[in-house]
Subunit: 399 residues, 2 copies
């Protein structure tokens, strides 16, 4: 029997288990399927689960559960790490390795694939895309992004109502180190004229504090309130993230990335600036944090379907003669197709928002972006309604 | 035609519009119904909407929309403010005033009611309960709490999966100034053995930093990770909130409350303490923020029904000869009844978690609390599933 290994890398999403189940259900028709616990670290430690006989119904339940059912890792292997991996793979006679993850995971897999070829170890390496940041090259979008975007849309739709009821300035910081796709999704929360977010700050544009304060001031004057969506990755002209400048205990992962999530510092600092400079009393800042990639019950059904399919397609592509990454192409607004691209085409590279998606103001998105995102969000987004205005004539007319 | 006024006070919830619609649909059978924009501030400014002829279908859409459809306020009236209110009510010949809100709003209404009696102005004052904090006296629970609790449950269920996939220490700060009901709800996110939150810190118990660090350390050692739920209102032995001690620009509302929400400071400070003292690398802190009271699509259907009914009952009780507050009684686990209690029984008073709901450890809830909360959460909470473990025998056995 052929031995097939599957693992998950990087940050979990609401649909990464769909891709896992897609791989497992297809691959176990062809051989024995092992799952490595905690990504490549689990390979190193020989922590494998045999998924060949897990009941299909159980897998289907896991598929609709957020998080990475096998665990994940942020380890990045060097050559020594790779050699240890090969020893384990060889001992267990693994022939195919499916690694579900983002551009860092694709980079990991690319290193493993190159090293395997160099040392003459026969291993089929397939990368299955996922990332809430939507920052993979060669892909229309990446599984995980649509559900996270839907969470962002619902979060801004709700907090917009809250801010409209108790007017003030409200900031909310959204994930996305280099790419603003998730922050930009907040624009689709707007329904009625005057709805927030009124200003959107993306890492694709330079953040200038004085300009930010002036834009917030103008918006607050105009609407009597101001809702702001901010990417955690906003940076100054030198490219230095505003967030990491402010963090004392900056924490880096194995890929050298500074920790941007899991802290409210960026929102708090900007709230302080606004309070001090604009003299506005009600200023509040939230940070969406880990909820945006893990909240159960806020999932795009479109995202679920595509996440399942990339897993299935990866098994299909593994029958061909080359390693690679499954890439998603949009063939029309609601239909996607799949192709295999070389690992190095996505490994370690970052897609950012195309200029056509960003408004000239630099603080909003375009119709092209709305048209791009809308079909990804899936069905059944809760509707928001206002009371129609029927003002009573004033009698005392004091104000 | 009788003139009836309705307004919303304090923080919005996911179901406060249900109570508004409950009042409007019943009251407009009896007379003309005005809605004041932005609570009592709208009365002062004569900002009324005539809700008598708003289509029922539109009201039903508004009922399922989070936020306060008429706007809200945190103003607290003094005698001068009350006199201005009476002038407006008199000019518009308002006979009944329904104020939907928490204990601060009940306090406002109590002042208005007492002053009206003192100056001989005939006004029926009815308080309709709401608050996500669940801190009203005389009530089994308050509308808004069940839906916010459901959000907390889903948020912790999701972030528990995230933390299990990438193990570390994770804190999440939950709303609740004096009462820990909302923070305690996080306990109902647990399904499998080892699920978080592993530690729950409530404002009903004194927070001691050294003890906290020791409890986190022990839990981290035991599970290899640690999920913590913290109330924003945790305080030291002197009663001083840990959060407000740390905030430079402490912001107070008209009721003298320090701003605790809309900042990530508490989570960030405690993360820094853990990093510095326990030398753990992966430490993350989130703050649920305004999402927990406004997120669309995460609502308890039980909460919606009760919120509608308290509005309807208030109109019914207004036919009796006294001012008061509608109070919710649990008659069995899934059935509630309503009674009218004096305004002063709830005005400005705070219910906290009963001792029977808090475990002896001080960092968990009891079965009695789980039994209390479970029926409030409503139907259709997303299920969470794990992969059953089927470990493969190690060959190299290095670890």
């Amino acid at each position: 029997m052929r031995k097939i290994l599957v693992a998950l890398g990087g940050g979990p999403t609401a649909v990464i288990n769909q891709s896992l189940v897609g791989v497992v259900l297809k691959a176990r028709l062809l051989g024995t399927v092992y799952g490595a616990r905690f990504g490549i670290r689990g390979i190193l430690n020989e922590e494998f689960l045999d998924l060949s006989d897990v009941p299909t119904q159980e897998l289907e339940f896991v598929a609709v559960t957020p998080g990475s059912a096998l665990g994940s890792t942020r380890d990045k292997p060097d050559i020594k790490y790779c050699m240890e991996i090969f020893k384990v793979l060889q001992a267990h006679q693994i022939e195919q390795f499916f690694y579900i993850g983002g551009n860092d995971s694709a980079d990991t897999l690319h290193i493993v694939s190159e090293e395997a070829r160099r040392v003459g170890y026969s291993l089929r390496c397939m990368h299955v895309p996922k990332t809430v940041d939507n920052d993979l090259m060669c892909n229309d979008h990446t599984p995980g992004y649509p559900s996270a975007a839907r969470f962002v849309v619902q979060a801004f739709a709700g907090t917009n109502l809250d801010n409209a009821a108790l007017p003030g300035i409200y900031l909310n910081v959204v994930m996305g180190r280099n790419a603003g796709f998730l922050t930009a999704a907040s624009a689709l929360a707007r329904k009625y004229p005057g709805d927030g977010p009124h200003l959107i700050y993306l890492p694709e544009r330079t953040f200038v504090l004085e300009r930010f304060l002036e834009e917030v001031r103008r918006t607050y004057e105009h609407y009597g309130r101001c809702m702001v969506a901010l990417s955690e990755g906003i940076h100054d002209a030198s490219g230095a993230p505003i967030a990491s400048q402010l963090m004392k205990n900056a924490d880096r992962d194995g890929h050298g990335n500074v920790q941007l999530s899991g802290s409210g510092a960026l929102a708090d600092l900007l709230c302080d600036e606004i309070k001090n400079k604009l003299k506005v009393k009600r200023v509040r800042g939230d940070t969406l944090g880990y909820l945006q990639r893990s909240f159960p019950g806020c999932v795009s059904d479109f995202d679920q379907r595509v996440a399942r399919e990339v897993g299935e397609k990866a098994v299909r592509f593994a029958m061909s003669a080359q390693d690679g990454s499954v890439a998603i192409q949009r063939t029309s607004d609601y239909v996607v197709g799949y192709e295999l691209v070389p690992l190095k085409a996505v490994a370690g590279k970052t897609r950012v928002m195309e200029d056509k998606f960003i408004a000239d103001s630099g603080t909003d998105v375009t119709d092209a972006f709305r048209a791009y995102l809308y079909p990804l969000l899936g069905s059944g987004i809760p509707e928001i309604h206002r009371l129609s205005s029927n003002p009573v004539e004033k009698i005392l007319k004091k104000s």
